[in-house]
Symmetry: none
Subunit: 196 residues, 4 copies
DNA sequence: AATGAATGAGCCTTCATTCAT
DNA sequence: TATGAATGAAGGCTCATTCAT
C-alpha cells in the first residue's frame, strides 16, 4: 500500500485537475483520466480507487498551492500592495479556464454534503477571510485604509469573489468586469480624502 | 398530439425541481425523476424526453415565479422598504433547502455553455441588477440612501447574493450569516448621519 | 367480435401494405401503422391484435388481387399473348416500389417458419408455376411455343421472377434489365424457325 | 488500441453468422449475439458496436470464403466440369441451414439502400455472372456447350440461383428440387445431339 | 366503437471495477 | 508494478399492449 511512486501520483493529480476543470465532477469518467494520463486503467487504480478519492486529492493538492500564495502574501509589504496582490491572485483564479475547479467543487460538495469540519471549501473560504481581515486591519493601522468593520468587509469581499468565480464559470465574465468589480470593493476601503 | 395533461406536466416539473435541488443536474437520471413522480418510465418520456428538456422546463417555470416577485416589488413604497423586501426574497431563495436550484443551474450552464442571449442565468442576473440600481436611485432621490455609483453598488450587491447562494448550496450557511452579510451591504447605502 | 366495419378493415390493410412495402416486416411498429391510418392506437387493436395478424391479412388480401389477375389470364386468347400479359403483371410487381412486399414477406417467413401447407408464399409460387405450365402447354398445342418440358420451363421462369424480385428490392434493377431477362426466357420458348 | 484478440473477433463473427442465418438481420439484437457467444454485454461492445457493424463483418468474412471458391474454379479443367463445380458450390450455399445469410443480407440491404458501388450483393452477383459467362464461352469454344448468348445465359442462371436461394430461405426447398432446376438450366447449354 | 395516456418489458449503451498475465 | 480485456450493474430509450373514459 506504500506510496508507490510519489512522482507518478503528483503527475496523475495534475492531469486530473485539467480534466475536472474542463468537465466538472460527475461528468468525468475514469477513462477520461486514464486517457489524459496515458496510463492503463489498472494503473490508475493502483493510486486512486475512485473519482471521489482522486478529486479530493486534486483539491487538497490545490490548497497546498493556495497556502503557498497566502504565505507569500504574509510578508511585510504595505497592506494596500498586499491586498492588491491577493486580489490579483483571485482574479487569475477567476479567469483561468484550464484549471478552474469551481463548478466541479460545488458539484462534488452538493453530492457529498460534507460536514462543516471536513469541508475544504469552508476551510479555504474561512482562511481567505481571515487573511483579508488581517490585511485590512494592518492597512487601517498604517492609515492606508479606512474601515470600521474589517471582518465584515473581508467577508463581503470574499462573497463577491465567490460570486465572480461562479459567474465566470457559467454566465461568463470579461476581465474588465472583474477589474471593475474588484476596484469597486477596494475603493470602499480607501479613506475619502484619498479617493478624490 | 396536445400536451397530454397540463396538470401532470406541472406535477412532474414540481417533483423534478426537488430532485434537481437535492442532487444537482448531471447527477439526476430519468429514473430518479420516475421514482420521485411514482410514474412509469414510458410515462415520463411522454412529457419530457431528456433531463435537459426537463431541467429547462423547471427553470422557466421557476422564472415565472421570479417575475411575479419582481412585479410585486415595482410598487410605489419607500425605496428602503422595497430593497428590504427584495433582499428578504433573495434570502428566502438562498436558504431554501427543498427547491434550491442554484448548484444544478450552475452545473447545467457549465455543461451547456449557453450564449449570452439565451442564458437565463445572465438574464436573471442582469434584471436583478437593474432592479436594484433603480431602487437605489430612487432612494438617493428621496434622501433615504447615499450612493455615488448606484450601478456599481447594485452589481456588488448581486455578486454578494450569488456568492451567498453558492455558499449556501455547498459549504452551508446560517441564517444569521446571511443577515449579517446583507445588513453589511445595506449599511453601505445608509447616509452616515443615519448610520450612527 | 363481429367484423366491426369491413370497410375500415380494408382501409387499414391498404395503408398497412404501403408501410410494410417501405420498411419490411420487423422494422414496422404499430405506431407506423397508426400514423399511416390516422387512427388511434386503441382503434387499430380493435381490428388487428398484432403486426403478425395484420401482415398476414395484408398478404391474403394481396393474393386476392393475384387470383383476380390469374382469373383474367385464364381467358381464351392466344397463349403467347396471355404469357406476355402474365409477365407484364410480374414486371409491374417487380418494379413497384410502393407496394412491393417481397422483402417483408421473406422476412416474415424467415421468422415464422411456416409449414409448407399454410405458407401462402408457397401457395402463390405453386399456383403461378401451374398457370405458366398450362399456358406453355396451350402454346405448344397451337404451335406458338416449342417446349419439351413445360413444367420445368415454367418453374425456371418463376425462379427467374423470384430472383428478379429480390434483386429489385435490394440490389436495385433497371426496367431494361428486367425486359432483357424476361425476353431471354420467352425466346427460349419460341420455335427456332420463328426466332429468326 | 489494437483489435484486442483477433481470435475472439473471429469467434464472435462465427457465432453471429449462425444467429443472423437463423433470425435474419433486423430481428437480431446485441443480446442474441451475447447469448450465443456466452460473453458479457460489455465484452461484445469491445469488438463490435452495433449489429450493423457486426453484420458487415460477417459478410466480408464470408466473401473471403467465396473468393477462395472462385479462385479454385479458375483452373484449367473442362468447362463443363468447372460449371458443374460452380453449381455444386451454389447448391451447397442454397441448402445450408446453419449459415445461410441470404435473407439477412437482403434485409440488410433493403434497410440500408447501399449505392451500387459499395453494395457487396451487387458485386458478388456481377462477379458470378462474369465467371459463368467465361465458363460458357470456354465450353462453346471446346464444343462442350452450345449457346448463342453466353452473357444472357449466365445472367439467367444467376437469377435462377437467386430465386432458389430466397426460396430455400423462406418457402423451403428440397435438394431434389434444386438438382432438377440446375439440371434444367445445364441442359439448355448442351448441344442437341448430345442431349439425347 | 374509438381514443390516447399510461404501463412495463426489453433492448441499447456506458463505465467503474476486477483480474489474469 | 503495470496492463487492458472482460464483466455486469445501471441508466437511456422504445414500443406493444392495456384500459379508463
Amino acid at each position: 500500500m506504500g506510496e508507490k511512486s510519489v512522482q507518478k501520483r503528483k503527475y496523475i493529480i495534475e492531469k486530473a485537475r485539467t480534466v475536472f476543470a474542463e468537465k466538472g465532477f460527475k461528468n468525468v469518467t475514469m477513462k477520461d483520466i486514464v486517457d489524459a494520463c496515458e496510463i492503463s486503467r489498472g494503473g490508475l487504480y493502483l493510486y486512486f480507487s475512485s473519482t471521489d478519492e482522486l478529486f479530493l486529492s486534486v483539491l487538497s493538492d490545490d490548497s497546498d498551492d493556495e497556502d503557498t500564495v497566502l504565505a507569500s502574501i504574509s510578508g511585510s509589504a504595505a497592506a494596500g500592495d498586499m491586498l492588491a496582490l491577493f486580489l490579483k491572485e483571485q482574479k487569475k483564479e477567476i479567469l483561468r479556464k484550464k484549471n478552474n475547479l469551481t463548478v466541479a467543487t460545488y458539484e462534488y460538495f452538493t453530492l457529498h454534503k460534507a460536514t462543516a469540519l471536513d469541508n475544504p471549501l469552508k476551510r479555504q473560504f474561512d482562511t481567505a477571510v481571515k487573511i483579508v481581515e488581517k490585511l485590512i486591519e494592518n492597512g487601517v493601522e498604517t492609515g492606508e485604509f479606512y474601515c470600521e468593520n474589517p471582518l465584515g468587509c473581508a467577508r463581503n469581499l470574499m462573497y463577491v469573489v465567490e460570486g465572480l468565480k461562479i459567474t465566470a464559470g457559467t454566465i461568463g465574465i470579461t476581465e474588465e468586469a472583474i477589474d471593475k468589480e474588484l476596484m469597486y470593493v477596494m475603493q470602499g476601503l480607501v479613506p475619502d480624502e484619498l479617493n478624490n
